[in-house]
Amino acid sequence: MQRITEAFARAKEQNRGAFVAYWTVGYPSLRESEEAIERIIAKGADIIELGVPFSDPFADGGVIREAAYKALAQGTTLDSVLELASRVRERHPQTGLVLFSYYNPIFSKGVEAFANAAAAAGIDAVLAVDLPLEERDELVVPLRKRGVSFIPLIAPNTPLERVKASEQGLENSFLYIITVKGTTGARDSLPPDLAERLDAIRAVASLPVAAGFGISSPEQAAEVSRHADGYIIGTALMKS
């Protein structure tokens, strides 16, 4: 199943950007997060990023951090995220599912055991915030053996040659373009050079390109979709 590739293809046929939605699992409770994910899929999300709460969310802004602390306080673990994922998968055979985590919970479980569990849960791809190109093989290789892909992050200061290297060997994936230097979180405006940068990345990339961090309004999503294959909304969803 190439659900991520298909999700972007479907959006393109319909002349729109793919809607990728993030939610921290376990926030405000495990049950409510599952309901929230159902609502978001009903609203038309093409791909869901299931956030794994972590004790030290150093790449996140205030909203997602607070969500993580709350989820952890209620006992949410990587295993509960995987269990939730398999339930969502059963109800939604077509929706792309990305597990979004810091690397330590995954490493702590063991990459082989994690890769087995992710495949069994119907996860399409994994995004590990703190696993850049230089370190990622230790996870990407075990995942690939089970047919699970990996989502690379592309930062505002990532050179185009590195963009090319980042998509090497990946299919059923997309490039997650970080719009701003900084943490996750809604912002009033997007950087003025974003459109230009997205065009430049798209010109060299084979994978679909989706932009995230700071996208909060339908207007911003529409603007981004003119220069990207999709957009990612997290904080703004969780705040609403």
Partner: protein, 392 residues
């Protein structure tokens, strides 16, 4: 550049920081080749910090214990009162060389924060220091010092409100401001190339001590002993003796209320391999891979991880890592005050406690070299409170 120490180390950071880390590694490689850099660093260490620091023979303590000679490497005599300044001066020189306009730092006990605020003042750069809210409380004198020096202190109240959370917040600042901001990391942890850079800047401790020991006693020490939180003063001491296999290297971890209680900060003794703050290293963590709160009477050792090179030295058996409890550290603190007229930092008191344990069983001509990494002025209130609690 060394990026990995066997399975440890690496660059486990968000993509936005890969560019700045590469820029730092290149600048450091270039600085190392530049004689002018070394000349300037050495001059500041001599004329401003007051290096070299002496080694002191603790004669009354040695006589009291009746065994091996205890020598103290006096990093407490550095300007700012600890070894931390050796590294902040080096990193600030790098920052200036790279055209960075602003310094940021994390701090636990506040000694690294003070040392960073100090060089920021010396070089005329703005400085923001992140410190856990609990540490702000228990290390109030250092907070005042940083403010006097012109730094802005950010009390971090989320998570466990200690050093690890301060480091999270410093990383968030750096990700957002990496174009003009230099992150001065205070220990041999974090992503490559920081562990190597910090070790190199702290290696002055071990190099001096080795030469001084030879000059004064005509031989090398039998053991070189230092406390390990992140492990920068230990790595600085060890660096001088790495190629002397006869010299035992001893890194002392903070045992808090005892390993069995779970209330400690001994990552190598009580942890599992994991990934935090950019490096793969031994971590105190839950079964699910979340980071545990740590405990030590000494704020400077209160960190759930440890420098990756220490994990490597432990694995290959080049260094050993015993544990010293709060009680033992406080007893060593008292002993140094009373026998030698030196008030040591609670961090350094852990190293001293290990030497006090070992000395009696060793012959009188054996030498234990202890890194007295800092002075204890900052700890007066903590020691008083600790003793009050014990007596009640």
């Amino acid at each position: 550049m060394t990026t990995h120490y066997s399975i440890y180390g690496g660059q486990y950071v968000a993509e936005t920081l890969m560019g700045p880390l590469a820029e730092l590694a290149a600048a450091y490689a270039e600085a190392k080749r530049d004689d002018a850099f070394k000349t300037e660093l050495d001059a500041i260490l001599r004329d401003y910090v007051g290096r070299e620091t002496p080694i002191t023979f603790a004669s009354r303590l040695t006589a009291h214990l009746g065994g091996a000679k205890i020598l103290l490497k006096r990093e407490d005599l550095n300007h700012t009162g600890a070894h931390k300044v050796n590294n902040t001066i080096g990193q600030a020189l790098l920052a200036r060389r790279m055209g960075k306009k602003r310094l940021i730092a994390e701090t636990g006990a506040g000694m690294h924060g003070v040392a960073t605020a100090t060089v920021a003042a010396l070089f005329g750069m703005p400085c923001d220091v992140y410190m856990g809210a609990i540490d702000v409380e228990r290390q109030a004198p250092n907070v005042e010092r940083m403010k006097m020096l012109g730094a802005t202190i950010h009390a971090v109240s989320e998570g466990s409100a200690t050093l690890k959370d301060a480091m999270n917040e410093a990383l968030r600042d750096w990700v957002a401001n990496c174009d003009d901001t230099f992150y001065v990391i205070g220990t041999v942890a974090g992503p490559a190339p920081y562990p190597e850079i910090v070790r190199d800047f702290q290696s002055v401790i071990g190099k001096e001590a080795r030469r001084q020991c030879l000059e004064k006693f005509g031989r090398l020490p039998d053991q070189a002993i230092a406390c390990v939180g992140g492990g920068s003063n230990a790595m600085g001491l060890f660096a001088g003796f790495m190629d002397d296999p006869a010299v035992k290297l001893v890194g002392v971890e903070a045992g808090g209320k005892g390993l069995a209680t779970g209330q400690h900060a001994a990552s190598i003794n009580g942890g599992r391999v994991g990934v935090l703050h950019g490096a793969k290293t031994m971590l105190l963590q839950t079964d699910d891979g979340n980071i545990l709160d740590t405990y030590s009477v000494s704020a400077g050792l209160d960190y759930p991880g440890v420098g990756p090179e220490h994990c490597y030295l432990h694995d290959i058996g080049r260094a050993e890592y015993p544990v010293v409890t709060d009680d033992e550290a406080i007893a060593a603190f008292d002993a140094l005050c009373r026998f030698e007229g030196i008030i040591p930092a609670l961090e350094s008191s852990h190293a001293l406690a290990e030497a006090i344990k070992r000395a009696p069983a060793l012959p009188k001509d054996a030498i234990l070299l202890v890194n007295l990494s800092g002075r204890g002025d900052k700890d007066m209130e903590n020691v008083r409170r600790y003793k009050d609690a014990k007596n009640n």
